[in-house]
Every structure is written in structure tokens, then in C-alpha cells.
């Protein structure tokens, strides 16, 4: 299914907001969305939530024949799947550009940087080595799949434990988890990918773009680093022209972000280890938050509260002063009461002359309401367009000031006289 195209006004809105350094979800330009890491029930399964982007990684291993030119090194295989579950734009079986890009970037980030000791995966040199396979599935696409996938992949690799092996002469025995404890992989460092998106030909830059921002961006710069401030991979994509200073600035930002994320991963791994040791329940089902429809729980959205008082005062000052009201009721003459007071009297323009049952106060109120409505329309004189009546306009200008009841009274009296 084709992706719904982004409308022009949405695009303009996003770009304008970015120019003013505002993002849709209230983040700052260099802020990541909240990252949650949870593990499945078996070793090597990991779920990563980056805001609403959800990604799952699973590591598995197999004994295979090694490559001919590297007989004593294990094999690492990475695979990212874009499933239609993540976004309606992804189709099964179609190798799109995005898929190739993500796969290659993950391979470069993890394989070329030699984060795993492949020589320790060798069992019998030239004959049997472990092939470690990392499969990453995208479950929900809300922007920045690359970062989520890299975090998931490296966390899953850290979490994974391979079966123990015994070698006697020519025989190789693979022990199951009940016989001997599985062994974790030896990982040198944890490379994590950080994505920077560029807008307006490189003038504005954002970290961790969400899906809407990704649609309007000009290009992307992905920097993979580890916490020792070593850059594992740099890749610019999209047709943007970069300057050297921009790349250096991005690398500095990336080093800060990577150290934060690495701490988060280590903490998550420790928590999981503790939970498993204590025999607690762990797994996908446990990690889903209990979302009860009946519970009243609203997320706090951050709002900008800086200039609210000034702006409010500004608006109040610029607004028109409300019309003056005299405490009611007022008795201008004996036998006459007045509730409310207005400046202009439009009596005689709108009221029907046949209506003779006016009680004074009722009429006053009605008329006041009319007048308030009609102050804007004082110039247009629209009388009822019935041809039978003879409509006579009583002179409205003579009774403009404080005219409430007196004019009404006069008007009523006059019309009564005329009708007779």
C-alpha cells in the first residue's frame, strides 16, 4: 500500500515550527524520546521502545563451516525486516531502498567495528565455527528506525548466551542449557547509532526525528559511536551538502547521547539479570504496560509557560473595554423601571409594530439584547419585508442616549396612535 502523501500545509507547519526551534512533541532539538528496553523470556530477545517506535531483536546461533579466507573466525549475520505491521508503506518481499540502507548501516555499525570477538566463536579451526545471527523486526514505525534497531541489536547481543561446547579429540559435543550453563558472548564495546536530520539545506538540525519530521527532512547523518568516544561509522544520506563543522558538532552531540544510552542499556541488563536470578517473571507479556481504559491517567505534556503572563496581559490591554453597566434596576420615572442600560437605541428598526403586548421591563430586556446584537448593524436598516404592512421608521436619532425605556414607551405610544 502506498504511503499517504504529506499535505503541503502540514509540511509548511513542520518546517516553520522547526525554524522556531519547536518540535511537535515538545522536545528540544537535541533531545531523544524516552527509551524503554525490555527482554523476552529466552536469552537474546530484546524489545526497544524509542517513543512510539518499537523494534524487536533476536539473536540465535548455529554451527557452520567457516569462510575459506577466515578459517578461525566466527560469522556474524545481521538482518533487519521491515514488516507491514510497522507501517502500511512497508510491503512484504519488496527490497526497498530503506531496507537496504538500514541493513547496510547495521552491518557497518556492528560488524566492521569488530564489537564482538569473532575468534572466540571458533570451535574447530577450518571446520566448525559459530554463526551468530541477529534478526531485527520492526513492530511500529514512528521515525528513527535505525537508532532503535542498533540499540536493540547490541542489547540483544549482550543479553545472549550461547550453548557450551565440549571437544574430545574429533568429537564436538554441544551441551544443552540443562547440562551446562550457556556462555555469554565476549563483546568489546557497544556501538550505538545516533541519527541527525537536516532541514532547509542544512540550516537546522534535529536529533532523533519522529516520523513526520523524517518526511520533511532533506537528509540524514548517522553516526555510530561507543562510549569510549570512538566513532564506529559515519554515513550521510539524502542529497544534503554538509560542512566540516557540522559533522564535527554532530559527533560531539553524539558522544554525549551515546554515553547516556549505554548507561541505560547496562542498567536494563542488570535489572534483567537480577530479576531472573530471583526467579521473577520476565518476558514480553510482563513488559507490556497495564493500560486500563477505566483508569484516569493522563500523561503530562510539557508546555511552554515562560511568556504566558506577559502575553495574557498584552491581550487584555489590547482588548476593548467592556460596555459600562449601571447597577440595575434603575427608576428613571415613576411607574417605570429599567434593567440594564445601553448607548444606542435601535428600537423601531427591527421590532414588529404589531407587537403591542409589551410589558415595559420585558421589552427593555429584549430590546437591550437586540441592541447589543445590532450595534454593529446600525447602518443597515432592514425592516420586515412583508408588503402588507406599512412600515414607518420612527426617528431613531432623537433617542440615542440612555434611551431604554423612554423611547420604547414613546415608540409604542406612537405606533399605537398610527395604527388607529
Amino acid at each position: 500500500m502506498k504511503d499517504t502523501p504529506l499535505s503541503n500545509c502540514e509540511r509548511d507547519f513542520l518546517l516553520k515550527a522547526i525554524e522556531e526551534k519547536k518540535r511537535l512533541d515538545g522536545r528540544q532539538t537535541y533531545d531523544y524520546r524516552s527509551i524503554k528496553i525490555s527482554f523476552g523470556s529466552n536469552h537474546g530477545c530484546c524489545f526497544v521502545d524509542l517513543g512510539k517506535t518499537r523494534v524487536m531483536a533476536q539473536v540465535s546461533c548455529e554451527l557452520v563451516v567457516p569462510k575459506e579466507n577466515r578459517p578461525n573466525e566466527g560469522i556474524m549475520f545481521f538482518n533487519i525486516e521491515l514488516s507491514p505491521m510497522a507501517s502500511p508503506a512497508f510491503e512484504v518481499g519488496r527490497q526497498s531502498d530503506l531496507l537496504v540502507k538500514l541493513n547496510r548501516q547495521l552491518e557497518r555499525c556492528l560488524r566492521n567495528s569488530k564489537c564482538i570477538d569473532t575468534e572466540s566463536l571458533c570451535v574447530v579451526s577450518g571446520e566448525k565455527v559459530w554463526q551468530i545471527r541477529v534478526d531485527v523486526h520492526t513492530l511500529n514505525h514512528d521515525g528513527n528506525l535505525m537508532d532503535a534497531a542498533s540499540i536493540a541489536a547490541i542489547t540483544a547481543l549482550c543479553h545472549f548466551k550461547r550453548p557450551d561446547i565440549g571437544i574430545q579429540g574429533d568429537e564436538v559435543t554441544v551441551y544443552g542449557p540443562e547440562e551446562r550453563d550457556p556462555i555469554p558472548l565476549s563483546i568489546y564495546h557497544m556501538p550505538i547509532c545516533v541519527s541527525f536530520s537536516f532541514f532547509q539545506q542544512g540550516t537546522y538540525l534535529l536529533v532523533d526525528p519522529c516520523e513526520r519530521e523524517e518526511r520533511v527532512m532533506d537528509g540524514l547523518l548517522m553516526i555510530a559511536m561507543n562510549k569510549h568516544r570512538e566513532i564506529c561509522s559515519v554515513q550521510s544520506s539524502g542529497g544534503i551538502m554538509l560542512l566540516k563543522e557540522q559533522v564535527l558538532r554532530c559527533s560531539k552531540i553524539a558522544s554525549v547521547k551515546v554515553s547516556e544510552i549505554t548507561e541505560l542499556i547496562i542498567k536494563a541488563l542488570e535489572n534483567d539479570k537480577k530479576a531472573r536470578k530471583e526467579g521473577g517473571r520476565c518476558g514480553f507479556a510482563e513488559s507490556m504496560p497495564r493500560e486500563r481504559i477505566t483508569a484516569l491517567k493522563v500523561d503530562e505534556t510539557p508546555m511552554e509557560m515562560e511568556e504566558v503572563t506577559e502575553r495574557a496581559n498584552d491581550i487584555v490591554q489590547r482588548a476593548e473595554a467592556p460596555p459600562e453597566t449601571v447597577p440595575s434596576p434603575v427608576l428613571p420615572a415613576p411607574g417605570m423601571g429599567q434593567v440594564g442600560q445601553v448607548l444606542k437605541n435601535n428600537w423601531g428598526l427591527e421590532e414588529d409594530e404589531e407587537d403591542e403586548e409589551e410589558q415595559e421591563e420585558e421589552v427593555t430586556i429584549e430590546e437591550d439584547q437586540h441592541e447589543r446584537e445590532d450595534t454593529g448593524r446600525a447602518d443597515v436598516v432592514v425592516i420586515s419585508d412583508s408588503e402588507e404592512e406599512e412600515v414607518i421608521i420612527l426617528n431613531p436619532e432623537t433617542s440615542t442616549k440612555n434611551a431604554g425605556p423612554t423611547s420604547c414607551h414613546q415608540g409604542a405610544a406612537k405606533t399605537k396612535k398610527k395604527m388607529k
Binding site: 527490497q95 531502498d97 537496504v100 540502507k101 541493513n103 547496510r104 557497518r108 566492521n112 567495528s113 569488530k114 547523518l221 559511536m225 569510549h228 568516544r229 570512538e230 566513532i231 564506529c232 561509522s233 559515519v234 554515513q235 550521510s236 544520506s237 539524502g238 542529497g239 544534503i240 551538502m241 554538509l242 560542512l243 566540516k244 559533522v247 564535527l248 559527533s251 560531539k252 558522544s255
Partner: protein, 243 residues
């Protein structure tokens, strides 16, 4: 490859070059008569052929035409005899697709596509012998081919691969040197110093990034001088022979 010294104590590399020396570049434009533009470049032992067709009407997938500019379509492929071991899949595998995407992205930034709306420019690149710096040689060859086709570009697109060994940046890596340390491939538009593509693999400490990028930019500017020389010579010859 533990015994191989990529940079000797006297500052010489495996093939006798100094650290910042580029390999010998020999190029020729207008190699094929059929194509709109073509070029052949030899950078050391890496030999690359590039062919450009266009701008022409979009033939396949008319729905992809852009109303305001041209679409650039690149295909990168390696000849099966180009590497030491015979290559099984010359094109269609992930690495080739990725290289094609990178080439496309590089040239979309450099070619003035606004002048040819609703049309397509095809760039085909084939590696005849691969000895390191594949991507860079492809970009250089494609630049010459695009110039030969007469398609206007903002500037020359020059690319070079640099590596980092023993705290020294090495310019224009060969295949052996690429396997050693880290390698950075950069495509540059020399006049404005704008980077069209930046790609780096393998570990490099953040502090060395600036030195490496500087070295890459210098190397690219060197390449641009050579390419400029080639273009001028080709034009002189064609003016003289009246082609």
C-alpha cells in the same frame, strides 16, 4: 595481515608512496560513441568505466517523474573478474545496491536537475579492476562522464578514500590498506568545500575525526585538479580535431 607494515618508519607506504600522495590517475573521456557521455579512469590499479545516458524521457515507471527536476538513476556493478576471487553476483546484492544509492545521492546534489524537469539521467558505473577506493573512483569517473555528456553541474564532484594508520592520515587507500585500519570515503565539491557524501567504517577516536576529514578534503582537492586537467585536455583535442 599482521606482518604488513602499512606505514614504514621512513614514512613510505607499501607501494612506495608518501602518506599524503595520491595514486597515479589516468583518465579518458568520450570512450564510447553510442552513449551521451562516457569516461574511463584508472586510479593506480583500480579501473572504472562510467557511462551516462540522458537527459531523456522517463521510460520505465512514468509515475516516478518529478514535475520540477530530473530523476537520476545510478547503477553500480563490479565485473566478475574485478576482484581476486571471482564475484558471484555482480549486481543486485546489498553492497552494490547501497553503492548505487550513494552515487545517486551524490549526483542529485551536484547535478543541476532543475533544468530538466520530468526527465531521467542514467549513470552506469562498472568496476573492471578493484584495488581499493572503489567508491571514489566511481564518483570521479561518473563526474567525467557527466561532463562529457554536457549536463551542467554545480562543481566537480571529487572523491577520495583516506585511512588512518599510526596517527597519520593516508590518502587514496589501496585494497590492502583498506583492510587495515579505518577508512573514510568523502565526496566533495571543491570550490565550496561542501561534502556531498561522507562514509566511514571501523573504529576511529573522535579526536582524530577532524584531522582525517581535513586530509580527505585536501586529497579531494588534489583529485579535482587532475580531473580539471583531463577535461581541459580533452576539450583541446576535440577542438583541434574538430569533433
Amino acid at each position: 595481515m599482521a606482518g604488513l607494515e602499512l606505514l614504514s618508519d621512513q614514512g613510505y607506504r607499501l607501494d612506495g608512496r608518501k602518506a599524503s600522495e595520491l595514486r597515479k590517475v589516468q583518465a579518458r573521456m568520450g570512450v564510447f560513441a553510442q552513449a551521451d557521455g562516457s569516461a574511463y579512469i584508472e586510479q593506480g590499479n583500480t579501473k572504472v568505466l562510467a557511462v551516462v545516458y540522458g537527459p531523456h524521457e522517463m521510460r520505465a515507471s512514468r509515475g516516478r517523474t518529478l514535475y520540477d527536476r530530473a530523476v537520476i538513476n545510478c547503477q553500480y556493478s563490479m565485473a566478475t573478474f574485478s576482484t581476486a576471487e571471482r564475484k558471484r553476483r555482480p549486481h543486485g546484492d546489498r553492497k552494490s545496491t547501497e553503492m548505487s544509492l550513494h552515487l545517486k545521492q551524490t549526483f542529485e546534489a551536484a547535478v543541476m536537475t532543475q533544468l530538466y524537469p520530468r526527465s531521467q539521467i542514467d549513470i552506469y558505473v562498472k568496476i573492471l579492476q578493484s584495488d581499493g577506493g572503489n567508491y571514489s573512483a566511481c564518483v570521479n569517473a561518473a563526474t567525467l562522464a557527466v561532463i562529457d555528456a554536457g549536463i551542467p553541474m554545480r562543481d566537480y564532484v571529487c572523491a577520495c578514500t583516506v585511512g588512518f594508520v599510526d596517527e597519520t592520515p593516508l590518502a587514496d587507500l589501496s585494497h590492502v590498506e583498506e583492510g587495515g585500519g579505518s577508512s573514510l570515503a568523502m565526496a566533495l565539491l571543491p570550490r565550496g568545500g561542501q561534502i556531498a557524501l561522507l562514509q566511514m567504517d571501523a573504529r576511529l577516536h573522535q579526536d582524530h575525526l577532524e584531522t582525517l576529514m581535513e586530509a580527505a578534503m585536501t586529497a579531494c582537492k588534489g583529485v579535482s585538479k587532475v580531473l580539471d586537467e583531463v577535461v581541459r585536455q580533452h576539450l583541446q583535442v576535440s577542438v583541434l580535431t574538430g569533433e
